[in-house]
């Protein structure tokens, strides 16, 4: 294959990625009013082989968004409503005794709801840490272990967890290790007046609008491959690393606010999320290369849940987003 043909193949691949991405976004927007950034973020996580944590007050459409996505994507979808009495086996599955035709009894693994392509972990902070940790292996390894056997999860495997930031009584905040396994943490804000009008119009009529499936499982996997294939130049990678290091209070590249308000900075998964998210962002914008602008675009959702604040920050109501914005303004782009 000569260079021209190769380039045209790449161009077609990129064009297909962008078109498919756009079609998903348009289809979701028929149900979900506004929140384009949230939809894009969720799609980015899906295509970057990540998982997403959606945070927002009740009623802003977290669960609706995930359900709509499941409808648009031709994927196997399951929903787990996390409650305090939920057990790990309720998620992963369990061995049950089954009697065959000859009367012999044996154990058979009954797959839990986690064996799906899209898993909605609704109100994940209401389950106990033991149950929450059941998701750890599945989210990181894309496999689960039960009764001494490891079961691979079907690809794409995508966890969408939601949590409510205001009803903290009777909840179990996610441990840092589990928070780090989420690719993005997206915040759904309360909709504006115009958006509320649209929401009411769409949901109070006789028939709600329906969506069609626009993306097959295989197409999603191809899009994932395309995203991974996007090259990143070293200067851009250095920029992402500098941002990550700037969140570490003990680093000599730390920002002043980091030294004052941050207890622990982002893990290396944060840098991975920055680069992978930037790749998807670049492809969405019809580019074959990743720019520092792409890194900046995904920096907040990729790092906000990876930066652990200290008591002073809590006392002064300084949130991670403010620190990250200061870091983004402070870290210079390479070559400037």
């Amino acid at each position: 294959m000569n260079t021209v043909a190769m380039n045209s193949a790449v161009d077609r691949q990129i064009q297909a990625f962008r078109d498919q991405f756009q079609s998903v976004r348009e289809e979701i927007s028929r149900i979900i009013v506004g929140n384009e950034e949230i939809v894009t973020g969720v799609m980015t996580c899906l295509l970057a082989r990540g998982h997403v944590l959606l945070e927002g007050i009740p009623g802003v459409g977290k669960t609706k968004l995930v359900q709509t996505m499941a409808d648009v994507l031709h994927l196997k979808f399951s929903r787990i409503q996390f409650t305090p009495d939920l057990m790990p086996g309720d998620i992963i599955g369990t061995n049950i005794v089954r009697e065959d035709e000859s009367g012999r009894k044996n154990f058979e693994f009954q797959h839990g709801p986690i064996f799906a392509n899209m898993v909605l972990a609704d109100e994940i902070n209401r389950a106990t840490p033991k149950t929450q940790s059941a998701l750890l292996e599945a989210m990181q390894e894309n496999s689960v272990s039960a009764a001494g056997r490891t079961h691979a999860l079907d690809q794409p495997f995508f966890v969408l967890a939601t949590q409510n930031p205001i009803e903290m009584e009777g909840t179990y905040p996610l441990p840092e290790a589990q928070m780090d396994r989420f690719f993005f943490k997206l915040r759904l804000d309360f909709p504006g007046v115009e958006q509320l009008h649209l929401i009411i119009d769409r949901t109070t009529r006789e028939k709600e609008p329906a969506v069609k499936r626009v993306l097959e499982q295989g197409q999603i996997l191809e899009m994932r491959e395309t995203a991974r294939a996007i090259p990143v130049a070293r200067p851009v990678q250095e920029y992402a690393i500098k941002i990550t290091l700037a969140t570490h209070p003990e680093s000599d590249q730390a920002h002043e606010m980091t030294r004052r308000y941050v207890r622990f900075g982002s893990s290396p998964r944060g840098s991975q999320a920055l680069i992978l998210g930037a790749k998807v962002h670049a492809l969405m914008n019809d580019r074959v290369h990743v720019s520092c602008e792409d890194v900046r675009a995904v920096a907040l959702p990729a790092l906000r849940h990876r930066v652990l604040l200290n008591f002073e920050a809590e006392a002064q109501r300084v949130d991670a987003d403010a620190i990250l914005r200061a870091i983004l303004d402070w870290v210079p782009e390479p070559g400037k």
Binding site: M6, N7, V10, A233, P235, V288, H289, S291, C292, G335
Partner: protein
């Protein structure tokens, strides 16, 4: 390969333009710093003239070292190349390319291969091909140019107004025509009558103006200047004295009253004109008087000017029957010689003073102020009241007191030239020369010395009191004035502490002079 060449060509072009722009900015920055330093130096020099050396080795060595170091620093900054990474980053930000060229250049320089990399490089090459380096790096003048222009204007303003901002600035000296003339001291000498003293002064001035002259050479030149000036002053005093005697003698002759009046008024040109008129009315001489011939032949080289003028005056005195054309011619020649001598003396004095001022204007100003406050050095004290004729204030008041009338001249247009100055008390009408009682003190001292040299030569050989002089007391000697400190090894060494050194033998003469001077002032 073609994509690589396109991208490299564009990046090199942008890099070159960036480097040129940076070099211009750095050069202008250096210019701004230089202008700022010059402004600061001007201001400091104007406000503290004694503390900031503005000429000579103490000023030029640190200045040259500073400029050299700064130039080296600027050169290092300018010589830094603009990397292709920087050029790519500039192009990306200037054309909103989202790091396209930067990424493409990085992939090209690291030789990584993949279909996506090739596609990215191909896209970057297509983008680079559309770029215009002149639009990305426009050749507009940097802001530092305006800053440099502003600083240049400030420097010009400070240079123009600087002296007037100085508390030491002398407004009268600044507008004085004499001060303007002294800007070109060599020109003054070129116009002066040719004389060995003028030649010597010209050489000394040349030495002072030479940049490579050492301090010792300059000191010797100043010493030579001082000697020439002293010699010229003495010659001029003697000539004026002779002229005064001639005037007194001519006044006894009723036919020459106008000539005598003109001479007393210091108008030598009018006196010569009168004498020429008189000579035309006389019959031509039948035979030459040997006495006049001898005096005329040796007039310029033998004896003092007083002695040369006297014989011609005796021939024209009132008790001489009739007027002799030869005697009139002789008188005319003598008056012209005195005029010439006065002219030389004036030029020499102007040049010497101008050279001193040029050597260190600030030091001279400080010295002048110090003298003005001193009561023990009236002879060199600055004249605080400007003369009404020319506005001069820097004339030594006591020294020029009796010189004014004799120097005064009028040309055909009536314009007054020469050194006409006010007295130390501020009176512009100086006292006329009225004989020995009020004769200039140094002329009296010289006359006394000449007489003693002839009459008491043998006595002096055995007498040690020729070295007896009145010097300053120990307290006076220890009280070093600022002027004297500045004068150490410098240009006005000759002026420091010389005026108390009056020989014992001439003490009475000095006392009489000042007694007569005060009595005449009372009158």
């Amino acid at each position: 390969m073609k994509d690589r060449e396109i991208i490299l060509g564009v990046l090199h072009g942008i890099g070159r333009r960036l480097w040129v722009g940076r070099a211009v900015r750095e050069a202008l920055f250096g210019l701004c710093v230089l202008l700022y330093c010059l402004i600061a130096l001007r201001m400091a020099g104007a406000l503290h003239p004694a503390g900031i050396p503005t000429s000579g080795i103490p000023a030029w060595v640190p200045m040259a070292a500073g400029i050299g170091l700064f130039a080296a620093y600027l050169g290092w900054r300018i010589s830094r190349k603009v990397s292709l990474d920087q050029a790519a980053a500039h192009a990306d930000s200037g054309a909103a390319l989202h790091d396209e060229l930067k990424s493409a250049w990085w992939f090209l320089s690291h030789d990584e291969q993949s279909p996506f990399i090739e596609a990215q490089v191909a896209r970057a090459a297509a983008t680079a091909d559309r770029l215009d380096a002149r639009r990305l790096v426009p050749g507009r003048p940097p802001r530092s140019l305006y800053a440099a222009i502003g600083l240049g204007a400030v420097l010009a303003l400070v240079t123009w107004l600087g002296p007037q901002l100085s508390p030491f600035w002398d407004a009268n000296a600044a507008v004085s025509p004499t001060g303007a003339q002294e800007q070109d001291l060599r020109a003054l000498l070129r116009d002066a009558p040719r004389d060995a003293r003028v030649e010597k002064l010209d050489q000394a001035l040349e030495t002072l103006e030479r940049d490579d002259a050492t301090a010792e050479q300059k000191r010797e030149a100043l010493e030579a200047m001082r000697e020439v000036s002293e010699q010229s002053n003495m010659e001029a005093v003697a000539a004026r004295d002779g002229l005064a005697r001639l005037a007194e003698t001519l006044a006894t002759n009723p036919q020459l009253t106008e000539v005598a009046e003109a001479l007393k008024a210091g108008n030598n040109a009018a006196a010569v004109a009168f004498l020429k008129e008189i000579r035309e009315g006389l019959p031509p001489p039948e035979k030459k008087d040997e006495q006049f011939a001898d005096a005329g032949a040796g007039g310029q080289s033998q004896g003092s000017m007083t002695e040369q003028v006297d014989p011609s005056g005796q021939q024209l005195a009132g008790n001489t029957p009739g007027l002799n054309a030869d005697a009139v011619s002789q008188a005319i020649r003598k008056i012209e010689e005195v005029t010439r001598e006065t002219e030389i003396q004036n030029r020499v004095e102007q040049v010497r003073r101008g050279a001193k001022e040029r050597m260190s204007t600030s030091a001279q100003r400080s010295a002048g102020r110090a003298n003005a406050m001193s009561s023990s050095n009236n002879l060199e004290a600055g004249n605080p009241t400007p003369a009404p004729e020319n506005g001069n204030t820097d004339m030594a008041g006591g020294a020029m007191f009796n010189r004014g009338k004799a120097n005064r001249e009028e040309d055909a247009d009536g314009a007054q030239e020469g050194t006409r100055t006010g007295s130390a008390a501020g009176e512009s009408d100086a006292m006329p020369v009225q004989g020995r009682a009020t004769q200039r003190l140094d002329a009296q001292l010289k006359l006394e010395a000449v007489q003693r040299g002839e009459n008491d030569k043998a006595e002096d050989e055995d007498d040690d009191d020729k070295n007896w002089i009145y010097t300053g007391s120990q307290q006076q000697a220890s009280a070093l004035q600022y002027q004297q400190v500045r004068a150490r090894g410098g240009f006005d060494r000759e002026a420091a502490g010389q005026h108390d050194r009056i020989p014992v033998r001439q003490k009475q003469m000095v006392k009489n002079y000042f007694l007569n001077l005060h009595e005449s002032e009372k009158k």
